[in-house]
Symmetry: C2
Subunit: 357 residues, 2 copies
C-alpha cells in the first residue's frame, strides 16, 4: 500500500491514506475472523486426522471461559459428534492410596499393546483447593504419558462440578473423534464426583484395599452400589490372603443388593497393578459386561438416559441461575427470608410471593 | 315475606314476588360470602382457643385441592403463625413391624400425663398406593386416640411428596397454634420420606429391632446418619440380651460417623414400648438434646435453614413446572431429544437451544 501511495501523483493521497488506515483495520478484522474460522476448521480436521496436539489445543478451547472461544469450541464439538460415541467409557474410583494411577497405567499400557488407543481424563472437584490432587501432573503415570497411543489430560479446572462435568463430557466427544476407543475417567472416591462420573460412563470400577473397613476407606455405601466391578488392589506378597478374604466379604455384601437394571451381576476381583497381575481378568470382565449390555440394549439406553440427564440438569441449573440473578428477585428473597425468620410468613407463602413478582 | 304479600292490597304483588326471588338469591349469596369469611375467622379463633374440632376442619381445608379453599387456609395459617413455633418437632421412623405405633402411643400417653399436649402426624408417600399403610385409621393407637390431650392425624393424601410435605408443614403450624407442645411426625423407614421429614423436624428418632441386619430391615445407611437417637425396641423377655448386643454394635458404628453440626453425640438406647420400659430414658435424651441445641443456637439455626430449604424447593419446583409445561418447550424438548439420540447435538447445545426459545 505504501509503495502504491508513493507512486501516485494525486494530492489527495493524504485522505486516501486516512481511508487506508480504516481499510487496513477492516482487512485485519476480516483476516482475524477468517483466521478464527480457519483455525477451528483446521483444528477439527486435525482432530479427525488423529492429531494429539490438535486434540490438546481443542480441549484447552473448551476449557476456556472466554466467550469468543465458545463459538469455536461449539464448531469443533459439532464437527466431532458424527465421529464420536464409538468408544467404551470407563469410570474408575477409589480413595487416595488405593493405587489408581498404577492401575490405570498398567491397564492403559496393556490395552495399547493390543492396539487400542486409551484416553485418561479426570474429574476432581477438589482440584481447585488442592491444586490438582489427582492427575495434576503427568509424572504420576510416567510410562503411559510417553505412550504414543495414550492421551492423559489433567482435571478440568472450575469451582463448579457442573462446569467440570460439561467440559469432561465434551472432552470425551473430542477424544472419541480423535480415534480413542477406551476412555477412562478417573475420580476420587469421596464426595459427589462419583455420581457425576457415573452419569457419564458406561462402566464403573471401584478400587479397594483389603483389610480396611468401608468407613476407614471413606467410601460411601452408594458407591459400592454403583460399581460394576470391585477390584481389590495390592493383592501381592503378604497381602494375597487378606485380599482373598476381602473378596469373599464383598461378594457376600453384593448379594444383599438388588439386581441391576443392566442385568449384570457385579463381580469382585483381586489384582496387583504393580505386578500386572489380575488386570487382564478385570479387562475380560469389562469386555463381558459390554457384551451383555450391548446385546440387551442397556448400553445404548444408558447413554440416551445420560444425555437426557445432562440436558435436564443444564436447563434446570440455567433456569435457577437466570431467576436468582435478577436483582429484584435477590432483594425479594432477602426480604422474605427476614419475614420468615420473624415467623411472619411461611416458606410456601414466601415462595409464591417471589414467584409472582 | 309470604305473609306480608297476603296482607298487601296492591295488584303488583306478583311482580314484587319475582323481585323478591332475586333479592333472596342476592341475600343468600351475601350471606354465603359472609359465612365464608366468618368461617375462616371463626375457625382461626377456635384454633387459638384450642378447639380440636376446629383444628381438624382447618387441616381438611389445607388438604383441599379446591382453589377457593386456598385463600381461607392461607388466612388461617397467617393467623396461626404468630402463635406457632413454640413446640418441639420430633421425627420418628422405622420399618413396618418395628413397633412405631406402640412406641408413639406409649410415649404420647406418658407425655400427656406430664401435662403436655401431643400431636401425631404422618408423612407416608406410599399411602396413595396402600390406601394408608400408616395411620390410615386411628385404631392403631386406640388409647392415644381417646386421650383428650392428644391429636392424631392420618397422612395427608397426595401423589407428590412435595405436596404432602407442604401440607404437613402447614399442619404443624396449626397444631402449634392450637397449643400442642410436642409434634410427632411418623414415617416409614424406606424411600425418600425420611429425608423429607428430617427437613421439618428438630429431632430424629430411629426405631430398630435387635438381631436383624440393616439390609434385612430395609434401612438405608443415610437414615442412621440422620438419627439423633437410635432406639432398639422390643427389648423385653428373651429379647433383652440381643437388644443389649445390638446397642453395643450400633454404638460402635456411630463412632465411625463424623461429628454432627449440632454437637450432639447420637445415642443408642433400648426400650420396650409394649411394657413402657426405657421410654422415659429416651424422652430424657430428647430433652437433653433440646437443652444442648437451644443453648448453642443450633435449634433456631436449623429451623431457619429448614424454612430456607422449603422456600428454595418450592421456587425451584415451580420454575421447572412453569417452564416445562409450555407446549413450545415440550415440543422443542422432544425434537432435541431425538437429535441427541441421533448424535446430532450434545446435551449442552440442546439445553442452550431450548433455553433460548
Amino acid at each position: 500500500m505504501a509503495s502504491k501511495e508513493n507512486k501516485s501523483a494525486l494530492n489527495e493521497t493524504k485522505h486516501v491514506s486516512t481511508s487506508n488506515i480504516i481499510n487496513s483495520m477492516s482487512i485485519q478484522s476480516i483476516k482475524q475472523k477468517r483466521k478464527v474460522e480457519i483455525d477451528a476448521d483446521a483444528l477439527l480436521k486435525s482432530i479427525l486426522n488423529k492429531s494429539i496436539s490438535a486434540l490438546s489445543r481443542a480441549i484447552t478451547l473448551i476449557e476456556s471461559s472466554n466467550p469468543k472461544h465458545q463459538n469455536k469450541s461449539n464448531y469443533i464439538i459439532n464437527g466431532c459428534l458424527p465421529h464420536a460415541n464409538k468408544s467404551v467409557r470407563i469410570g474408575i474410583t477409589g480413595v487416595p492410596g488405593v493405587g489408581k494411577s498404577t492401575f490405570i497405567e498398567t491397564l492403559g499400557n496393556n490395552l495399547t499393546k493390543q492396539g487400542k488407543k486409551v484416553a485418561v481424563l479426570a474429574v476432581d472437584p477438589s482440584s481447585t483447593v488442592t491444586k490438582g490432587s489427582i492427575l495434576g501432573d503427568k509424572t504420576r503415570m510416567e510410562s503411559l504419558a510417553k505412550n504414543p497411543n495414550a492421551f492423559i489430560r489433567p482435571s478440568a479446572s472450575g469451582n463448579m462440578l457442573g462446569g467440570v462435568a460439561k467440559k469432561t463430557r465434551e472432552t470425551i466427544i473430542l477424544c472419541e473423534a480423535a480415534g480413542f476407543d477406551v476412555i477412562i475417567i478417573e475420580t476420587v472416591g469421596v464426595g459427589q464426583s462419583e455420581t457425576t462420573v457415573a452419569c457419564m460412563v458406561d462402566f464403573f470400577l471401584l478400587l479397594k484395599l483389603a483389610g480396611a473397613g468401608d468407613e476407614l476407606q471413606g467410601i460411601k455405601r452408594g458407591i459400592i452400589e454403583m460399581a460394576d466391578v470391585i477390584a481389590i488392589n495390592k493383592a501381592d506378597g503378604n497381602n494375597i490372603k487378606p485380599a482373598k478374604l476381602a473378596k469373599v466379604e464383598f461378594n457376600r455384601a453384593l448379594h444383599y443388593l438388588p439386581q441391576k437394571v443392566s442385568q449384570w451381576q457385579p463381580q469382585v476381583l483381586t489384582c496387583s497393578a504393580l505386578q500386572n497381575e489380575g488386570i487382564e481378568e478385570i479387562w475380560e470382565a469389562i469386555l463381558n459386561y459390554f457384551e451383555i449390555t450391548k446385546a440387551n440394549q442397556y448400553f445404548n439406553e444408558k447413554r440416551n438416559e445420560q444425555d437426557k440427564y445432562w440436558l435436564m440438569q443444564t436447563i434446570e441449573n440455567q433456569l435457577k441461575a437466570n431467576f436468582f440473578n435478577s436483582p429484584k428477585i435477590k432483594a425479594a428473597l432477602q426480604e422474605q427470608l427476614t419475614l420468615m425468620a420473624q415467623h411472619r410468613t411461611t416458606a410456601f407463602a414466601a415462595a409464591n410471593y417471589i414467584l409472582n413478582l
